[in-house]
């Protein structure tokens, strides 16, 4: 493709918590944005455009918040856009921001995604303010049961994912949940929310923000720290409900992955990708997305989990940051995946760094598992894909 290469030269995130009572809404997005600017060795005035993303506005009760946050993000006199694609929004916002660089529209773009769920109530928001809300887990649970039946996965797989992600989170100071003594038994004993999902294998509700500074090739080369290069991006959507829709392996997810692999030149994702940050708000989505994006074959996803392949020290680490299971400010979660993937290939992931990671995949999904946003980043603009 003849578009401009896009580099991630700065990443920042807030300390995610149930309630950040020390911050205002502008303060929350600025904490992440200022950290990204510092990481990029830039200030607000270096930025040419701002792209902000978040999930439904009723979560905080502020309509079209880019308007009241414009000057808080240094956007006065600049272009600013607000993206919203439900749960995948953090990912699609990152892609829309990278699209501005690739189109040679801007040289330095700040992108931010956030949610401050403690201002309102996420379950109330997801229920549209009505009684009897299913919760996201209630919608996804039957699909997980279908996956379990079809794949023959033993019931402990979900618990194993929950333990893995929570222990990874203890190596991520920004992660909301810090549960160093979590065990499979504790997950199994925790109350059942929606069969098969127990309390300790479903995501928390968090206040949090993520931010990235993206530049063109020149900016990437001149960056004070090694950048992450965007090798490819893909977004795919499908109808949420129609008779006969495959909700367990949504076609939009399969196509999104293959469009991305083709664009990047990946023929064997399991071998050629060193680490993945996948949107796993409920444990069973790790095996389901490993298969749903053809990283593992049918019925193989849960075996990758069971064999420890997706552990931090495994051959295909998934969610070394602790993932959505450990921090879930919904609007930011997608960008946390996209940014953590960048940090891995920049060698900036700290305690949860996957040694020698050169090619990383990030994925976010939203709605009734019908919106998909994915990107692959690398430490080199033209890596030799082993």
């Amino acid at each position: 493709m003849s578009h401009e290469p896009c580099a991630i030269v700065g990443f920042g995130q807030t300390k995610h918590k149930k309630r950040r009572d020390d911050l205002s809404l502008p303060g929350l997005v600025r904490e992440a944005a200022e950290r990204a600017l510092d990481d990029a060795n830039m200030t607000w005035t270096d930025i040419e455009a701002v792209v902000i993303g978040k999930a439904p506005d009723p979560f905080e009760g502020v309509m079209m918040p880019e308007l009241s946050l414009a000057d808080a993000l240094g956007a006065v006199g600049k272009p600013m856009m607000r993206v919203h694609t439900a749960g995948s929004v953090g990912g699609s916002t990152s892609i829309v921001a990278s699209s501005l660089i690739m189109a040679r529209r801007h040289k330095r773009v700040l992108t931010v995604a956030y949610e401050k769920q403690s201002e309102g109530n996420a379950q109330w928001g997801l229920a549209g303010g009505r009684s009897g809300g299913m919760g996201a887990g209630g919608i996804f649970a039957p699909w997980m049961q279908s996956y379990i039946r079809a794949s023959g996965a033993p019931e402990h797989i979900g618990w194993k994912v929950a333990v893995k992600d929570r222990l990874n989170a203890t190596k991520n100071p920004y992660a909301h949940l810090q549960l160093p003594d979590i065990t499979i038994e504790k997950v199994r004993e925790s109350p059942m929310l929606w069969a098969p999902i127990h309390f300790l294998e479903s995501c928390p509700s968090s206040d949090g923000a993520a931010a990235m500074v993206l530049t063109d090739e020149e900016g990437g080369r001149a960056a004070s720290k090694p950048p992450a290069w965007v090798l490819g991006t893909a977004m795919r959507s499908e109808l949420g409900s129609f008779p006969g829709r495959d909700t367990v392996r949504p076609q939009a997810g399969v196509e999104c992955a293959h469009m991305l692999y083709d664009a990047v030149g990946i023929t064997n994702p399991r071998e050629q990708i060193d680490v993945a940050e996948l949107y796993v708000p409920f444990s069973w989505y790790e095996p389901m997305w490993l298969e749903g994006h053809d990283i593992a074959g049918p019925g193989e996803g849960w075996k990758m989990v069971d064999s420890g392949e997706t552990e931090l020290t495994g051959s295909f680490p998934v969610n070394p940051s602790g993932g959505v299971l450990s921090s879930n400010p919904i609007g930011a979660s997608g960008m946390l995946r996209f940014g953590e993937a960048a940090q891995q290939v920049r060698g900036e992931a700290g305690e949860h760094q996957v040694p020698g990671a050169k090619v990383a995949l990030a994925q976010a999904y939203g709605g009734a598992a019908q919106y998909f946003a994915m990107w692959i980043v690398s430490s080199e603009l033209h890596p030799s894909l082993s």
Binding site: R19, R20, D21, D22, L23, S24, L25, P26, G27, R30, E34, T43, W44, T45, P58, E60, G61, D71, A72, L73, G74, A75, V76, K116, S118, E119, G120, N121, W124, G128, G129, R130
Partner: protein, 156 residues
């Protein structure tokens, strides 16, 4: 309600629903002191270079740089710089009788605050009018701890 649809007059039915929630907003290092001030009958601005911003912001709107929490008390009196006469207030408006929404540049401030001005009639409000804050008896740290502004000299 009637609606002609393809020549067939049909009675329009509607379903109603209410979205309600008691949001609890955390305030941070600048908005917190501002609302604390209002509770204590003081209006605070923040210094941004040689300007005093009201309402105070955590950053300079021109460039986004953070501002030190260097607060300056302003008002309670000020000057109306623009206004609108609201003849039929909604249930969300600060007053339930006709009033003026106005931009008010408080004494000591360089930017104008939006608030309600109660002059009783449209004829009594004009750009340049001197007004002062009328505080609620029961205040809880919110912008409407100021019930409204009234012409200077009226009982506050």
């Amino acid at each position: 309600m009637q609606c002609v649809l393809l020549g067939v007059v049909t009675e329009l039915r509607a379903t109603t629903h209410t979205i309600e929630f008691p949001y609890t907003r955390t305030l941070g290092p600048v908005i917190g002191p501002f609302l604390t001030g209002l509770r204590d009958r003081r209006i605070l601005g923040i210094r941004a270079g040689d300007r005093v911003l009201v309402p105070p912001l955590e950053y300079d709107p021109e460039n986004g740089n953070s501002l030190e929490p260097d607060f300056v008390e302003v008002g309670p009196a000020g000057t109306v710089t623009s206004w609108a006469w609201i003849s039929k207030p909604t249930r969300k408006h600060p007053l339930d009788r006709p009033f003026a929404f106005a931009l008010i540049k408080l004494d000591g401030a360089d930017t104008a605050l939006v608030h309600a001005v109660d002059t009783g009639s449209m004829d009594a409000v004009h750009t340049g009018l001197r007004v002062t804050a009328r505080w609620r008896d029961e205040r809880k740290g919110r912008i409407d701890d100021i019930e409204c502004f009234v012409p200077e000299g009226d009982g506050t």
